[in-house]
């Protein structure tokens, strides 16, 4: 009887120790941070490689499959001066796979040698990635968002939590966490990372003088419609542009 009890106890201890389901708040926070940095790195890579994306013809293989992941890895390590996260959690693994899938979805336009501006900019990539992740049912939602006023893509409109956080971010720009949030009856972990405005953001969102379409043209012929077809917002480098909002269902961490 005692022997059986001990054996059973060992089995229980083994199952308990080997499990990865009991992630504590610190582990969750680290995971969400890694996911956020991976996402931001992918956007940064696309920013830097608009020349390759919009190039008519040529070798585009760096934008696809494992090469694309390696480029995100390099971007991450350069940007954050730390090792790229290990794919030791299904959320990170699926995030990288989904990035590859999004680029593959865009392969026809990316490899279309007749089209110059392909429309694959960080914001559209982020939006497609976020959408694809949300339908995969892994409990991860990522959104590149900002204040509701003047948001270009209605799919990226902030929810109540994001709207409230954005007000705080404008006053005090830093990363905000909520470890005890609840969305539609589900316990979730939320994080908002503000992204500082960069000169390349102003090419579309800045003043008429920032518009690359006006380069070399007489001022009378300048347009305030940017290359994506939207009216430019007249933002300045000191303005708040937007941020990355991550929502992770706690049940998805099991």
């Amino acid at each position: 009887m005692f022997k059986s009890f001990i054996s059973l106890l060992f089995v229980f201890i083994f199952l308990f120790v080997s499990t990865t389901t009991s992630a504590n708040d610190e582990e969750v926070k680290q995971l969400v941070e890694e996911v956020s940095k991976m996402y931001i790195s992918s956007m940064a890579f696309l920013f830097k490689n608009q020349w390759l994306i919009n190039q008519k013809g040529g070798d585009k293989s760096e934008l696809f499959s494992d090469k694309f992941v390696n480029n995100i890895r390099r971007e991450y390590e350069e940007k954050y001066q730390e090792d790229f996260p290990k794919a030791n959690h299904h959320v990170k693994k699926i995030l990288l796979q989904t990035m590859v899938e999004v680029m593959e979805d865009n392969r026809p336009i990316l490899t279309d040698a007749d089209i110059a501006f392909k429309g694959i900019i960080p914001a559209t990539f982020a939006s497609q990635l976020g959408r694809k992740l949300s339908i995969k049912g892994i409990g991860l939602k990522i959104k590149f968002t900002r204040m509701i006023e003047g948001i270009r893509n209605k799919a990226n409109i902030p929810d109540a939590w994001e709207s409230a956080i954005i007000k705080d971010v404008i006053k005090d720009p830093k990363i905000y966490y909520d470890a005890n949030a609840n969305v539609a009856g589900k316990a979730v972990y939320r994080q908002f990372t503000p992204l500082p405005m960069k000169p390349y953001c102003l090419k579309c969102h800045g003043t008429i003088a920032d518009n690359p379409l006006n380069k070399g043209k007489d001022r009378s012929q300048w347009t305030d419609i940017d290359m994506t077809g939207f009216k430019m917002e007249n933002w300045k480098i000191t303005d708040f542009g937007g941020g990355v909002s991550i929502l992770m269902e706690r049940s998805s961490l099991k």
Partner: protein, 248 residues
């Protein structure tokens, strides 16, 4: 801690039981060969090339092979495939993106199709969330195609095309410049790197309006077989999604 331990044990045993169940059912399935109808759906299934070059064919074959089930594939034109499925002459039909409620599909989609617009290259609009750019454009719609609400609200002039072979006709009219754009429920079918016929077109997408592309099942399939096949696909997609398999 005690509660947590119970939870852990429950999840562990649930997973083991699920795997065992799937294994047992796949053993019973393996007694018979599964007959699968294929519909052309480029670039996933392309009848112009050998089947072994179609990634969806390879993925599906391997999924069943892993469970010891031999899949026998038959190529069909779209409508014929559905008729054969309804008659029970085939067990599965793929890929299936019809909205016919009388056809039962497996729970998990293989991939998603996104509707979009195909333009003549000189008139290409890459980002369709810039809806104001569609205002006043003449855009052809194939009859019966579910048109996304944002397009209806965009101020574009929507023209219903008549006649047979509507999609090809719409594309030809767009290429000739008689239409500004052509609405396609799944532009990927025509706008992909393997298709040279439509090289004068470029397509962009209404992201956020995707719909699942599934495997349809025969109405004669038993509940037990359905559960088994459904479980096999679900497990396969969890291990390696078809979309990632296609992208690699």
């Amino acid at each position: 801690m005690g509660k947590c331990l119970v939870k852990v044990i429950f999840f562990r045993f649930k997973n083991i039981l699920n795997t065992m169940l799937l294994y047992c059912v796949s053993l019973s399935l393996s007694a018979a060969t599964i007959k699968i109808g294929l519909i052309e759906y480029p670039p996933h299934i392309d009848f112009k090339k050998p089947l072994s070059e179609s990634k969806l064919f390879n993925y599906t074959r391997d999924v069943f092979k892993k469970h010891g089930i031999t899949a026998e594939f038959v190529k069909y034109p779209n409508r014929r495939g559905i008729i054969e499925l309804k008659k029970g002459n085939i067990d599965l039909l793929l890929p299936y993106d019809d909205s016919d409620k009388s056809v039962t599909v497996l729970s998990n989609p293989l991939f998603y199709s996104v509707p979009g617009l195909c333009f003549k290259k000189e008139k290409f609009i890459p980002i369709l969330s810039a809806l104001h750019r569609l205002k006043g454009l003449e855009i052809a719609i194939p009859p019966g195609a579910p048109v996304v609400q944002v397009l209806k609200d965009s101020g574009a002039i929507l023209v219903a095309l008549q006649g047979s072979d509507i999609i090809n006709r719409g594309i030809t009219l767009t290429q000739r410049g008689r239409l500004d754009a052509f609405y396609h429920p799944s532009p990927l079918k025509v706008y992909h790197t393997g298709n040279k016929r439509y090289k004068e077109l470029a397509c962009s997408y209404f992201h956020g309006y995707e719909s699942g592309v599934f495997i349809a099942t025969s109405p004669k399939m038993t509940k037990q077989t359905f559960t088994s096949v459904d479980g096999i696909l679900k497990q396969a997609l969890n291990e390696l999604s078809y979309e990632y398999y296609f992208a690699r």
